[in-house]
Amino acid sequence: MVLVYIDQADGQIKKSSFEVACYGAALAQQLSTEACGIIIGNTSEDLSNFGNYGLKKVYSVKDASFNNLDPQMYIAAISGLAEKISANVIVLSNNTTGKAVAPGLSVKMKAGLVVGAVALPDLSNGFSVKKSVFSGKAFAHIKINTETKIISLNQNSYAVTKTDAKAEVEDYSANGGTPKIKVVKTDKVKGEIPLSEASIVVSGGRGLKGPENWGLITELAHLLGAATACSRPVADLGWRPHHEHVGQTGLAIAPNLYIAVGISGAIQHLAGVNRSKVIVVINKDPEAPFFKAADYGIVGDIFEVMPKIIDAVKNLKGL
């Protein structure tokens, strides 16, 4: 059995949960078995819809003691269920929850863990999982040598497909033990698309000259339903919040489309965005290193080019 951890926040199922469900289902097929899911926390969403993504059954843990993410409690709940249903592969998203939970789960279950998987395992010679290493500059094939295996899947790495199937839903009461961590507060930026989940990202660098010009970035992002990001100096200068900083020392992302505006493309910046499927670079310097990593580019001045792009997108969207 393959067990998939379905992550939610404030009752809303995260986009990455559909990716891990589809991945888990495909993996179950490879192993000639079935995939089930576990969700922790209340949600009003119809969990039987996880059948659409290939899950046979979803176990729903609603105990209020799980309202906070204490990794240790999640580990107890997931490993407890895994044992009960004899799951020998567990799949999580490599998001902030997965990062907090997967390592401890690996210890608890004596199960080898691969963090940052980008493809289904290769079963031709044992069980080997392709993962991103050297900050996206290369891949490694990691062999898991334990009986039970845990895979933490990079976001935006596995395509979501849907069918009409329905999943059985069962309440599952788990014992997480005594919490060691108390969540005192959560602050969410309302209405913004979380950067790590976004399929389109519009990003600005020092070429924008100052925070007063960021309207060019946010307007395009808004039109495309995109998240916004920035280079490190932009965050360090306080032009943009720190959580928007992408790169080697910031967030690593892999959207379908990354639009880099006025960013030179230093190797440390590329390390965070080089797994993007399509990269567009707008820079006035034809020698900017970013063009080497780009799929499409415009050599031109931001302040002339961006308003025209915004107009063209408005046209496309019929606005």
Partner: protein, 247 residues
């Protein structure tokens, strides 16, 4: 307060990534090694800040690796820390590395264990959470702020689309990322002092390895950029819509 900071060694951020031995080994020739940026800028410097506030704080550094790591450990000692421990073990499996550190941590009676959020080479982001599970300690991952008041820790961690503030009692393990502290340059006094600070070498315990690296692979080369004239950005939008189909 007694703090253990986990220090790893990584190739410089600009190092050329290549592989040898039929793509099974990282080509380390000529590579400049640095302290993993997250360990240095955030975990270690935050520990040093705690010590500046309360000089009775003791900071130990730990590294799992061979003697070739000593220069990087000395560099870390130059930034701060009272002594370093190197566990003479050459494995890459995160569980094995975490087990080695857990052995040292168990004996040391640390109130706080700090790691970076991940190493920039293998990106497993696992060691902190694994040590926590091995020792049954509280764990906060990906923290961008950490304050200690008596035996209560308050940490802010990044979550999808926001931040979360957590409280926990010591002893505690925290993995650190940007926001935690500001990068510093070691000064002459630190560099001189680091030469005489103790660097203990301990032999590894027998541990299990759960995973092994079978091979490496470079991503396929990009086909090359398609340039669109600056006076016709509408063409870019058309291509993204019709050719790349991403908008």
């Amino acid at each position: 307060m007694k703090i253990l900071v986990c220090i790893s060694k990584t190739p410089d951020t600009t190092a050329k990534i290549a592989f040898t031995d039929n793509n099974t080994k990282f080509a380390a020739d000529g590579v400049q090694w640095i302290i993993n940026p997250y360990d240095e800028w955030y975990a270690l410097i935050r520990a040093v800040e705690f010590k500046e506030k309360d000089p009775s704080t003791i900071i130990h550094l730990v590294n799992v690796g061979l003697a070739e790591n000593d220069p990087v450990i000395r560099k870390a000692l130059a930034l701060g820390g009272d002594e370093a421990i190197r566990i003479n073990y050459d494995g890459k499996d995160p569980f094995a590395v975490a087990s080695q550190i857990a052995n040292i941590a168990k004996e040391g009676g640390y109130d706080l264990i700090l790691t970076g959020k991940e190493t920039i080479d293998y990106n497993s982001s696992s060691i902190g959470g694994m040590i926590a599970a091995i020792l049954d300690m509280a764990f906060i991952s990906h923290a961008i702020k950490l304050d200690i008041n008596g035996n209560i820790a308050t940490a802010v961690r990044e979550i999808e689309g926001g931040e979360e503030t957590d409280e926990a009692l010591l002893p505690l393990i925290v993995s650190c990322q940007k926001g935690m502290a500001e990068q510093r340059i070691p000064n002459m006094k630190g560099i001189m002092g680091a030469r005489t600070k103790p660097l203990k070498v301990v032999e590894p315990a027998a541990v299990d390895e759960y995973t092994s690296i079978a091979s490496f692979e470079m991503p396929p080369a990009k086909a090359g950029v398609k340039l669109i004239p600056a006076d016709n950005p509408a063409e870019l939008v058309r291509l993204l819509h019709e050719e790349a189909r991403v908008i």
